[in-house]
Structure formats: C-alpha cells, structure tokens
Symmetry: C2
Subunit: 547 residues, 2 copies
C-alpha cells in the first residue's frame, strides 16, 4: 500500500506525470477507453481526467501495458542482458522471464551470477528462472552440473525453476529429476507433443507452462488441463502462426507470447513480442486479446500482479503506439520514465564485470593432425532437414562427398572429441567453427579439410565465437567473449557480423536451404531427433545410445 | 509436487477413485469434454480414459469444479460454521471466503478463535478474512475493538483482510485506517457507488475486490481499474440480476459470485452459489462462463491456484449435476470423498467448545420503567423504506401512531441506551427484541408498550436471539446462543423458528412490506442512509452526527 499514490490521486501531493488524452487498452473489460493516465513513483495512480505539471499530450494515440516475453534465453540473442535490454525495450518489452540455461551449462553458478548482476538497474525487469537441466542430457560433457540438491539450495534466489525438459524423468518418477521441482516455486515446462496419461503425469508434478506446442489440438489439451501456453515466434521455432487459430475468448487468458530463441538481427528487423502482437491482430485476433496475451495473461500466469494492465496501482510500464494494427511504438515508459522513443533506447548501459565468464574455451592450439579421422567403408551419416533443426539418419560410403564435423570438449580440457559426417552441408575449401553448440556448448567445427578445421578452432581462441575459415585464413569472425555465447558489443555488431559470416559461408558453398550456423549449433543436442554428434561420439536419439 | 499423483496417473500405484464417462466443464477452453476423472489423495490426477477399482459411473452427467462463495458472513445465516457447512455443501459449495465481522464485533479475538476452531475438519474450506472494521463506526458501542496494531499482529493468521468499509478513511489517507491494510495480504473492498478519482485512490490502497456494485457502469469502471467484482445474491441485497448483463467474454474472468448475507431459509429453499450459477445460465449467460464465475474466477482472484477447475493437480472438489440449465446436484465430492448426495449432507459435525462465545448478553432484568421515554411535541422519526434497509427521515408529532425503538448496549453492561420512533413498522400490543443489530449487535427492541419491550428483552436472557412478545408472553423465540448471533442447532431449526417468528410478528400487525427482523437488525447501522438509532442515540447519517 502506497499512501503517496492515494494522495497523488486525490491531488494532495503533485503527481510525476500525466499522459493526456490517450486511449487506453483496458485488458479487463476488453474496451479501448479515452482517458488520462496519472503516474506517481513509477506507478499508475489515476485513470480519468487528471492534470499535472509534467504533462505529455498523446491525443489520438493508444496507451498499452508494457509487453512481457513469457520465456526466452537471452544467450540466443548473442548479446549480454544490458545489450538485450537496449534491443528489446524500444520494442515495448518491459518484463521478461529468462532462463539462463546456456551460460549455466558453460559457467555454472558464475554464469548465473553474471546474468543477475548485469541485469541490475536496467529499465527491463528480468525475472530469472533457475535452469533445471544442466546438463540437458548425460550424453555430452558440459561445463557445469546443477544437481537437485544445488537446485533446492539456490531456488529461493530465483523467480522459479526453468523449463523442465527432462519429461521422461518426470513421468518415470525419477527422484533426482523430481527433486529439482522446488515446492512453491513457479515451474516452467517443456513438453513437445506430450499428451494423455503422460501429460497428466507431467502436470501432476506441478509444471504450469509449456512453450513447445506445435499443433492446436495439443495446445487445447494442455490448456484444458490447466497449463498456460506460450505461443512462440523464435528464429528457429515459429509456432505462433499455427497456434493462433486456437485462441478464442476462453483460451486467450491462458495464452502468452514468447520468443524462446530469437536472434538480434530478427529483433532489429521485425521486432519481438510487439511483432507477435501486431501479427496476431493482422491475422484477425481481437486487438485487446492480442495485447492481453502479450501482457496481462503472462503476468497472471507468473503471479506478477503489479503489471500487465493500465490500471491504478499497476507499474507505469507503458507503450504509446499509433494503432494496434500498425503497432508503431512511439514511446516506451518503464516505471513512469521514458526509456525509448521511435525505436531508439534512451538509456546507456554500464559495463559489467565479466571476468568470471570470459576466457571459457580451454583448448590447446590444434593442428590438422587432431582431426585425422576416417569413416569405415559404409557408415551412418547425418542428413540435415531443410529449414529445421531435425536431422535424419542416412547410410553413406567412404568417398561420398560429405562434410566432416567434430565436437570438442572445451570446458575442462579433457581432450574428449566426437566425429560425424554430414551429407548435405556442402562446404568446400574451408571450415566453420563455433563455441555455440546446444546445450553443452562445446566447440563444434565442420569442414572439408583438417587444416581449415584446425585453423577455425584456433581462431576462436580462448574467447569463443563463430568463424569461417578458408585456406587457413579467417574470412569472418564473430567474437562472443562471454562464455563463448554472448558479446558486450551490442546488437548492431552481432547483426552486422552475422551477416558477414553468412556471406562468407555461402561463398564456401554451404547449401542455401541450410542455416550454416544454427544447423551447426544444434548438431550436438542429443534430445532432438534423429541423430546427433557430441564430444562423446555419434548419438542415435531414437535408440538413446551412441552409435 | 506430489509423486503419488504422477505414479497414479501412470498406473504404477492404484488411484482412489474414477468418475467414469462424465462430461467435464473445462473452464480454461470453454468446452464440455467427455472424459473420466481419476482421483488420488484428494486431488485430480488424470483426465481421459482411466480405470480404478473404485469406479463410479456418471454417464450422461456433468462434472463441475466445486463452487466458491467469494464473500460472505456466516453469522448472517444464524448457524455456526459446521452447521453452515452442512447447509451449503449439498449445494456444491466447497470453498468460502468468510469475513467473521459480526462475531468479532461482539466477542473480539475469542469470536475469531471460535470461528476458526469450529471450522476445522469440515468438508468445506473456510478461508477467513480478518475483519477490518471492528467497530464499523465510532457512533455505537461494540463488544470489541480491533486497532491497526491488532490487525498487523494478527494478519498472518488469516487469509486476508476483510472488507474495508471505511472508504472515506482510505481516501482521506487516515493512518489508522491505512494501517489495517497489511502488506502482501489479500485486501477485500466495500465501495458502493465509488467512482472516478475517489475510486482510484481506494484502489491505490491495494484493495482488490468489491461486492457492492449495483449498476453495470459502476461494475465496468471497477473491473477496468483492476478490481474483481463479486456479483451478489444475498437475502437483503440482490444485485446479481442487474449486473449479469455486464458479464461478457472479457469481464467474466474478473467476476465472482457471492451471497454476503443469506438466510438459511433461502439457502434451503433456493440454494446459494449453485442458485446464482443456474440463474445466470437461465438468463442467457454461456454455461461455462457462469460456472467459471462460481469457481475458477474466484480462485484466481484469491490466488487459490489448487482449485476451481477440473484438471490434473487440482483438488478433487467436484459436483455431479444433471445439466447446467437445471443444475440438480446429485453428488458433491470434497477432496475426492463424497460428502453430499441429492441435497443431503453425508457428514456429521462435532460439537465445538463455545464457552468463550456464549452468554454474551450482559444486561440486568429490565422493567417497563427502563423504557420510559417521551418524544418532544415535534421530532424527527424514522420511516422504513419498503423492501430495503434504507430509511428516511420524517417529521412526527407526539400522538402519531409510532413504534418505539430502543437500542441497549449489551456487551459491557454500561447502561448506555438510545431511543427512536419508527413511523411505519405497525406493531400493536407487543414488542420484538433481537440481539442481532448491525454491526455492534447491541439489543434492539421495538414495540408499542414499555412492558412488552421489557419482557421481550428479558426473554432473550444471557444467550440472545430474537423473540416476539405480546401481553407479557413470549409468542415465539429463536435462541441464538453463540454471541447472540448464531446457533449450533442447525439450519432446519433456524428456518422453522424464523417462520414461526414471522407469523407471530404479522399477527401483531407488522406491516407486510417490512421484514420485521431484518429492518430491526439494520436500524442501528450508522453507515447506511438516512437515519439510524444506536445505543448512543438517534443518528443522522447524512450529517454524520447525532440528532
């Protein structure tokens, strides 16, 4: 209870700001209502007819609640939390639920600390979930391990428990897995395709959300059984346009919007949650419904009762837009302070101490010798599926035109490595190396000759990043000095350099239907069908065993 | 997280119960879905196709979540919490939010303790709010006072803070009043007619609910500003039928149902929340919407995330009904146990120790002398408004046919009393006395002769209750031995005796358009227009001062 808000509403003390003559989106009654919005101490304290010395005229504009991204991994943007804030706040995002799963797999608790510290003081509320799956699977070597005991010890310092990807562990009643579901905390889910009895079992564990639906019937079953569903529009996974037709006057209250993994290039170009809200409206969803999914519905799911609506007592996290259809964001207010205008952030971000999360690539200088590996006469190879991260098993023979891939343990210098062969990557006279390799983020390198593969890995140095090498020469390099996953340099650097990388990769002949870097980044993830390669070897996901 | 629910869903351990072949009301997707409901340890653990040794066939029936009464005073039923449970559970009510405001005004903390103790072990979850207005107003003498300091000390033992009726105190920023709004607790409101700037100020105090709306525009403003609105169908105040037309696909999520004050006679005859849900459907509200307002919407408002829906992990509080239109409740399950069938409770209630809350009427034996009082030649009298608790000021002259009313302080034996005259009550040759007199519950007696007034008060003894006396003889007596407000005898006794009282009152000529007992019970309440009489004298509500 804030007496100053009462006093400001009654005019006994001056308010801080009034937005005059706008039209608010009322997510509770479903109406657009012309009125003034009075702000004090970062909160909305009045709706109606109000005046204040600090008055901004927003005649003809719409006033919306700040947007909420219900689930994402900041690391996938390749920029640090402060730089991420500078990128998304101009798009109207004022609160995010972030799972720092990637950096934790590399740096453990030091990674979590960095993410929290660097988020302090930003005009973006970052609610961190404690990652539940570090490592994601026992078939690769990650930089750190969080046990059930660790999770229980640390849970109170986090907003909740991050997406529980190990649904087989939940369903089978595995005590180490169940032990991570801290009592009384918000529990995020990850249950692609789960249905019926198994879904019931998963929900019985207390898991409240899912962002992995790809079909409407799946979404409706999960909502009906009490889950909140985050409709996703990431860079890789774009489910929102299929699921939107499952949104109606009942279900929308249990729907939220999320990006999960979205590149800064895509955010700079199209936007983020603002883009999803706009697209929903353009696809025929009632504007207040679309706005609600991007704000109050996520707030309700996560118990964030102080935000998500333009109402007295709510945080003054507000967007000024032209229309819900065109969704041009003219200004963004965070706690009553204007923090972005016409797409530009109005705040600078301080440098943060990253010493505990830099120089995370622990490898000696490699030679071509390191990559000497010959397949047998006939062997199982990896076939990339166009525009997807799914792979297929295929049979190949020595002498077929294949790209060699190697995953090298990079956290503890164990020298562990695994080889595989990819049929349709298409690289010629070069190699591409990356320290982004889900979810353990070992070094993954692909090429058609051992010398360039060595040169590419060496070029990453201790920092990490992504590089394209040809003829022993670095053609392009994106430095990702934070855990080998992110950079402090900001979205423009990442976006521009990524474009250069792409040009360099295509110049080496990488197949047009394949994303040279994302396909590489997901080659080691042993929980996505059908065949993967980790630092421990080639892995058959269906059989759940090494080949 | 309950591993046993996971194991039961997966069939690794036996479940406790399956309801086979019913149709569930899915409050999340707005559909009726045919499926089995599997129960373990009092929770729903599966929805779909399930089997279990203990199987109940509910073919062709609807399965609904247990109903929630969002706001009420048990004392208004005149029965104790256990007897109240026996009355409402057969009507499908499995959770109530109760404000023990009345008994606390009589007995203070002992009253609260009695309410909590007597609610233990019932198949009705009673969530008690700590009353915020004890006394309701400083213009009468109550049995107890709860200060802001008391409230802060006790708040943690309660579900929230009960309806804050003192809205002028909130709006003016009175520190004693604001001091009662414990940080972090659910705060119930009471703000009839409040709008605009004053409503904003009231909401800024953190107050989340209101059950006093009487018009749709009022309801929409409050919902739009973030409140949850309880649509009320009490015995006195029946707002639901007007407000229901403000319910739509957006607003229903912020609407709940409540009875506030409802007599057991009315509950036995028509029902309670079940009656409101049924009536809403019959008035054209979508059945799932009506059911939602009576269940999941109230649960959401009060953060009761374990109930209000038929879904895995939710409490197995379930109703079996014929159709949402006819709403005949065939069985009620509380935590998976059948507790009512075809209108009958299947449980007995233990006697509870009421010694601290009985014998609360502290008056000597009175004689006619005590009531000797003559009005001046011309004076202000009270005119009752038919079918309402509102009163009007009127001018009367000595010799007009009036009923004399006297309110006598009964808690501390101070001898404080106040007189007034009522123009259109109509009693002849008798008197009616009551220990129910809102909100301080002093003895209120009305009659046309002093001897019968004394006899009526004396007939209440130390216990309290309501009685009708004529010619010095008790014609009918309802004993209310708990705080002079409630009885352990049960709903049938109260209902039958109340009927006798009514016949006796009408026989003495009490005007047909006046409820002899309710009009008496509200004569002392100095916050309802226009004129009242308390133990401190005649009170002008508009002028907020004694006459």
């Amino acid at each position: 209870m804030n007496k100053r808000l009462i006093d400001a509403a009654m005019g006994r003390i001056p308010a801080d700001l009034v937005l005059k003559n706008g039209v608010i989106a009322d997510v509770f009654t479903g109406r657009f209502i012309p009125c003034d919005v009075l702000v004090k101490d970062g909160y909305i304290c009045g709706l109606g007819q109000y005046d204040c010395d600090n008055s901004i005229d927003v005649s003809g504009k719409f006033i919306l609640p700040g947007l909420i991204d219900a689930h994402l991994h900041i690391e996938s943007s390749m920029v640090t939390p402060p730089q991420y804030a500078r990128t998304v706040v101009p798009h109207g995002v004022t609160t995010i639920i972030a799972d720092p799963h990637e950096i934790t797999n590399v740096c453990g608790e030091a990674g979590l600390e960095f993410m929290k510290k660097s988020a302090e003081g930003l005009p973006l509320d970052i609610k961190y979930m404690l990652p539940s799956c570090v490592p994601a699977a026992p078939f690769e070597h990650s930089g750190a391990v969080l046990t059930a005991e660790d999770t229980r010890r640390m849970a109170d310092d986090y907003f909740g428990i991050g997406e529980m990807m190990n649904y087989p562990g939940i369903i089978s009643g595995d005590s180490e897995v169940l032990g991570k579901l801290a009592e009384g905390k918000m529990l995020d889910g990850h249950a692609p395709g789960l249905a019926g009895q198994k879904l019931d079992a998963y929900i019985n564990a207390g898991i409240k959300t899912d962002h992995e639906c790809s079909e409407i019937f799946e979404m409706l079953e999960k909502i009906g059984k009490g889950m909140y569903i985050a409709l996703r529009e990431g860079t890789l996974s774009k489910d929102f346009r299929r699921l939107i037709y499952g949104v109606n006057s009942y279900t929308f209250r249990r729907c939220m919007l999320c990006t999960d993994d979205r590149s800064v290039a895509e955010i700079l170009k199209d936007g983020t949650i603002d883009y999803i809200v706009k697209s929903a409206v353009q696809l025929g969803v009632e504007p207040i419904m679309a706005i609600s999914m991007g704000s109050v519905c996520a707030a309700a799911c996560y118990g964030l009762n102080d935000r998500g609506a333009v109402a007295p007592g709510y945080l003054a996290d507000l967007l000024i837009i032209d229309t819900p259809h065109d969704f041009n964001i003219e200004a963004v207010f965070k706690r009553g302070v204007k923090v972005a205008e016409n797409g530009k952030a109005l705040f600078d971000v301080p440098a943060c101490d990253a010493s505990a999360v830099t120089n995370t690539v622990h490898l000696p200088r490699l030679t071509a010798e390191f990559f000497r590996h010959e397949p047998p006469e006939e062997f199982t190879a990896i076939s990339l599926v166009p525009d997807s991260i799914i792979t297929r098993k295929t049979t190949a023979r020595r002498g077929d035109r294949l790209s060699k891939v190697c995953v090298i343990e990079r956290h503890h210098g164990t020298g562990s490595k695994g080889f595989g062969y990819v049929t349709n990557y298409g690289i010629k006279n070069g190699a591409i190396a990356s320290s982004v390799g889900h979810d353990s983020h070992n070094i993954t390198v692909i090429g058609d000759n051992d010398a360039d593969m060595a040169a590419a890995v060496n070029a990453l140095g201790q920092s990490g990043g992504i590089c394209v090498v040809s003829g022993g020469e670095v053609r392009s390099l994106l430095e990702l000095e934070i855990a080998g996953l992110m950079t402090e340099r900001g979205a423009e650097y990442v976006s521009a350099t990524h474009e250069e990388l792409m040009i360099a990769a295509r110049a080496l002949g990488v197949t047009e239907s394949v994303d040279p870097f994302l396909s590489l980044a997901f080659l080691p993830l042993p929980v996505i069908p059908e065949i993967r390669v980790t630092d421990s070897g080639l892995f058959d996901v269906e059989a759940f065993s090494f080949i």
